[in-house]
């Protein structure tokens, strides 16, 4: 069943929302607004009733898999349960209706919350200071890289290289390039970890920093992290940690104690804020004491019993957000941390690791695990054996949808052939993990007995497998009144 586009439901003259009538004397637009500033064409938006809109967006919502409806074992995305309580607090008028330019005496509650969140993130990561401004992980990376550049510039030198392992998330090299650095890729060792020989070989006086992910995208903990950091620090190069996988370290290890100089956290992953079908997220950046002065402005400070913004620090890299960051997301993360507390956070990290290792154990007889050692919060399977049946990891992902599971991450990390990357998170029960393992076992059988069943999956979704080639060759990115709809499914 599919749903027409909202534009196809439009009826000329229909209204869906009644505004208050104007209570001020009418004024002459022709006098007050010059002709050349006025919109002359009719605004071509659709016209619907409130019920039209409610039905439309309710119906199409039901075409989605989501954490609230399905297990969502998407590797590197930490699709854990998003507590409703967090949404409730963020929607409280006392938080939702604050204006960024209100005087500080009207904002003591939110400023205190932001200040405490920074303190909590410091306690969890072992870093000395945080900025809450970056709107997502990638913007956090960019902020971190600008800080790295500022650090070296302060020492009156220009260093142009960022070392990044080949297993890294694509945002790492993209952020480094955006920040004006040259990326040098590090080939991972046979064990999937950073190869310290390779690192030494690539390290020179032009290297500004190493950007690593820990645990890495294979779900493996960098056991040599301390010596890696020491190696970098010997050259006065910095270590940036992509904290996207921080969920695995909760209560287990603190990046600040491992020698990391700066990191970003993805609050929409580790701290359970909802992904919203693509965002918003929040990507606070934590730094050591010596890098604090480079953080973006403004920063929230406590002065006696008051909380205020400070706007000045001559070493700051500047502003990265239009205002103070994604406050609605920060509130949710704060509430999450306060709800779980010390014990709950540690339990989350511990259960995430147990869930992943349990599922890995149950699956490793079905599909080989890319790296056999015990993992942290996620692991990667290689489905290259399916090539014999003419199948790919992508086919298995699509078939899994038919079994009521969102697909794991496919074809990432790039260093594993036919990768299927699975992150169950701590909020999935053993029963669900058993069902997921069973579904993959059945698909492995289907692949042998009836490969077409798998290669043509999914069969039970609102639409069959979509033609991505057509979408890319003939980009159709917006509805046009002239475009004739193709056959509508039922």
């Amino acid at each position: 069943m599919t749903e027409p586009l909202i534009f196809e439901r439009s009826v000329s003259g229909r209204r869906g929302y009644r505004l208050s009538p104007s209570d001020v004397p009418t004024c002459s637009i022709t006098q007050l607004l010059p002709q050349d500033q006025r919109r002359t064409e009719v605004l071509p938006l659709p016209e619907l009733s409130e019920l039209d809109v409610v039905r439309h967006f309710t119906r199409i919502s039901q075409l989605n898999f989501s954490v609230d409806t399905h297990c969502y074992p998407l590797g590197s995305c930490t699709m854990k349960y998003n507590p409703k309580l967090n949404d409730r607090v963020a929607a409280m008028p006392a938080f939702a209706w604050l204006h960024p330019f209100q005087p500080a005496d009207q904002l003591q509650g939110i400023l205190r919350l932001l200040y405490e969140l920074e303190q909590l993130l410091c306690a969890i990561t072992g870093m000395s200071a945080f900025t809450l401004q970056p709107a997502a992980g990638a913007q956090g990376e960019l902020t971190g890289l600008k800080i790295i550049a500022a650090y070296h510039r302060r020492k009156r030198r220009r260093r142009s290289i960022i070392l990044i392992p080949d297993s890294a998330h694509g945002t790492n090299p993209a952020s480094a390039a955006l920040a004006g650095f040259q990326v040098v890729q590090l080939k991972s060792g046979m064990d999937g970890l950073i190869d310290t020989q390779e690192l030494r070989a690539r390290l020179n006086s032009n290297v500004a920093a190493l950007m690593l992910t820990n645990p890495n995208t294979l779900g493996l903990f960098e056991r040599q992290i301390k010596s890696i950091c020491a190696l970098m620090h010997e050259r006065d190069a910095l270590v940036y940690m992509d904290g996207a996988n921080m969920n695995a370290l909760l209560g287990i290890a603190r990046p600040g104690e491992l020698g990391v100089d700066l990191l970003q956290l993805n609050l929409h992953k580790t701290f359970s804020t909802p992904h919203g079908g693509g965002g918003p997220g929040a990507g606070p950046v934590g730094v050591t004491r010596s890098l604090e002065r480079f953080l973006p402005l403004p920063r929230v400070r406590r002065v006696g019993k008051r909380w205020v913004w400070t706007e000045h620090s001559e070493a700051s890299i500047g502003r990265v957000h239009g205002f103070y960051g994604n406050i609605g997301v920060l509130i949710r993360a704060y509430i999450y941390i306060r709800t779980l507390g010390r014990e709950g956070l540690s339990r989350a990290g511990c259960h995430a690791v147990v869930n992943a290792n349990y599922l890995k154990k149950k699956l490793q007889d079905i599909f080989p695990v890319a790296f056999p050692q015990a993992c942290m919060h996620e692991f990667v399977l290689s489905l290259k054996s399916l090539k014999a049946q003419g199948l790919t990891a992508w086919d298995v992902a699509k078939r899994l949808l038919d079994y009521g599971f969102y697909a794991p991450t496919v074809y990432f990390p790039l260093i594993v052939d036919e990768a299927l990357m699975i992150e169950p998170t701590e909020t999935e029960s053993k029963e669900t993990l058993d069902e997921l393992a069973e579904a993959l076992r059945k698909i492995a059988c289907e692949a042998k007995e009836d490969p077409q069943l798998v290669s043509r999956a999914p069969h039970r979704m609102a639409v069959g497998r979509l033609d991505e080639v057509k979408a890319a060759r003939e980009p159709d990115l917006r509805w046009n009144p002239a475009s004739v709809p193709t056959a509508v499914a039922h």
Partner: protein
């Protein structure tokens, strides 16, 4: 309180399957003992009831704008949020999926993005819109980056009348690069077009203007766009979506790239974030766009469906050569904007813009009745305008008097423009009633310097 469902007995069962006797045994095989942390210095957890009490307590330290009469704007506007938007958007199917990488299990999100892209194109009269960026400021910065790459030039001309925060973010994004960030001065509340003309150079990649500008004034966008094009650069326009029910859309005045802060389309201010970065462009720039794009296609049976497309521009494929590093965007706010625009429709958006315009002009006229208030500029405006107090007036005292009457005065522009002491930026949206404006005037009339 935590949300991990497995019981101690289940965990033990799972550890047995893994082949270890305890979690300690498992974790010590992964993280060497000497790297483990000692304790977690975080307070103990709380129950829902305790959390709500604590949130109420924290919230009582805030004074939200919906409990007062607020004339604050300057990039964050207090507009209506229809109940339908809140109720629909809070469905778990909208709030809790990830980016729609598996198209067949994400048709809801994808169809909504396709509708969003269309609605934004309609509102802006531009050819293409992406699935959103972080906020208006980073959208402006990304637009500048598109222009720099596309023109293979280095100079960026930004009017001083662009919101200072937007200029600051562009400047942060450009630091470390070869790009030259040059500001064009203002005259009489508008971009100095002659100065812009004089700044013409062979290396200009783009010209950036804001409409209405930071003083509320309406800029000669068409003229600025023509100048930008004559220099061989692109024209980047930062616009205000609510105004587009009444004002010329960027596609009609020659913008190559038009961006905006879209939070005002159905989302609360939430202290300035999350925002909603709207990003639109002409068709020629399609392959240069940052961020996600959703396209319509068909499945094997020929049924219409939607999928993310042209992904080779993005970081997960192009890595260091991607058009941007953006991954997570502001999808949920884009959904809210989609519902908002569908609900208000053509007539509603026009009426809303008109309401803002009329109320602001009423307030403007009334404020000028005060003998010590004058208008420093005489430009046309939409719902925001700049007024000046006489030099002898103690503006701090006025703020206090207004605060006592539960009124948040316009914003002092001196914080950004030191020469504009006693200049205040007043914003009047549809949320302000005539009574509220009259009360403001009464309070100011009663003010004895």
């Amino acid at each position: 309180m935590d949300y991990a469902p497995n019981t101690d007995a289940q965990i033990q069962e799972m550890l047995d399957v893994i082949g270890v006797s305890s979690f300690e045994e498992l974790i010590s095989s992964i993280v060497p003992e000497k790297l483990r942390q000692s304790n977690l210095d975080v307070p103990s957890g709380m129950s829902e009831q305790e959390i709500l009490q604590w949130a109420e307590a924290l919230g009582s330290g805030n004074r939200p704008v919906n409990q007062q009469i607020s004339f604050l704007g300057a990039g964050a506007y207090d507009h209506l949020v229809p109940t339908v938007v809140d109720v629909l958007a809070s469905r778990g199917e909208w709030l809790t999926p990830y980016t729609p990488y598996q198209a067949e299990a994400s048709q809801g999100t994808l169809q909504a993005i396709y509708e969003f892209q269309t609605l934004i194109c309609q509102l802006f009269q531009m050819d293409v819109a992406n699935a959103s960026l972080y906020d208006g400021a980073s959208s402006a910065a990304e637009a500048v980056l598109v222009a720099l790459r596309c023109r293979a030039r280095t100079r960026v001309l930004v009017s001083e009348t662009v919101h200072p925060h937007i200029r600051q973010v562009i400047s942060t994004y450009l630091s470390q690069s070869e790009a030259v960030f040059q500001e064009i001065p203002a005259v009489n509340g508008l971009t100095d077009i002659e100065a812009l003309d004089r700044a013409s150079a062979e290396d200009v990649a783009c010209v950036v203007l804001q409409q209405p500008n930071v003083f509320g004034c309406l800029e000669p966008m068409e003229q600025a766009g023509q100048l930008a094009h004559r220099m061989g650069g692109l024209f980047v326009a930062c616009v205000y979506p609510i105004s587009l029910g009444l004002l010329r859309p960027p596609g009609s005045f020659g913008a190559d790239l038009a961006v905006a802060e879209g939070r005002c389309l159905g989302s609360p201010i939430t202290y300035g974030g999350p925002g909603l970065g709207l990003f639109t462009a002409t068709a020629e720039l399609l392959r240069r766009l940052p961020g996600r794009l959703c396209g319509a296609t068909v499945d094997h049976a020929g049924h219409r469906g939607y999928t993310l497309t042209l992904q080779t521009r993005e970081q997960h494929i192009r890595r260091e050569r991607a058009t941007s590093n953006i991954c997570t965007n502001e999808g949920w706010l884009a959904l809210r904007a989609t519902i908002f625009l569908s609900l208000l429709g053509s007539g509603g958006m026009k009426e809303l813009a008109l309401l803002n315009f009329e109320k602001a002009h009423y307030a403007y006229r009334r404020l000028l009745e005060i003998p010590w208030i004058s208008a420093p500029f005489s430009q046309a405006f939409f719902n925001e305008f700049t007024l000046q107090y006489d030099a002898a007036i103690d503006s701090d005292k006025i703020q206090r008097v207004l605060a006592k009457a539960n009124i948040l005065s316009g914003l002092s522009l001196a914080r950004w423009y030191p020469t504009m002491e006693k200049n205040f930026l007043w914003c009047v949206t549809e949320r302000i009633s005539k009574d509220a404006i009259d009360r403001l005037i009464e309070t100011l009339k009663g003010f004895q310097g």
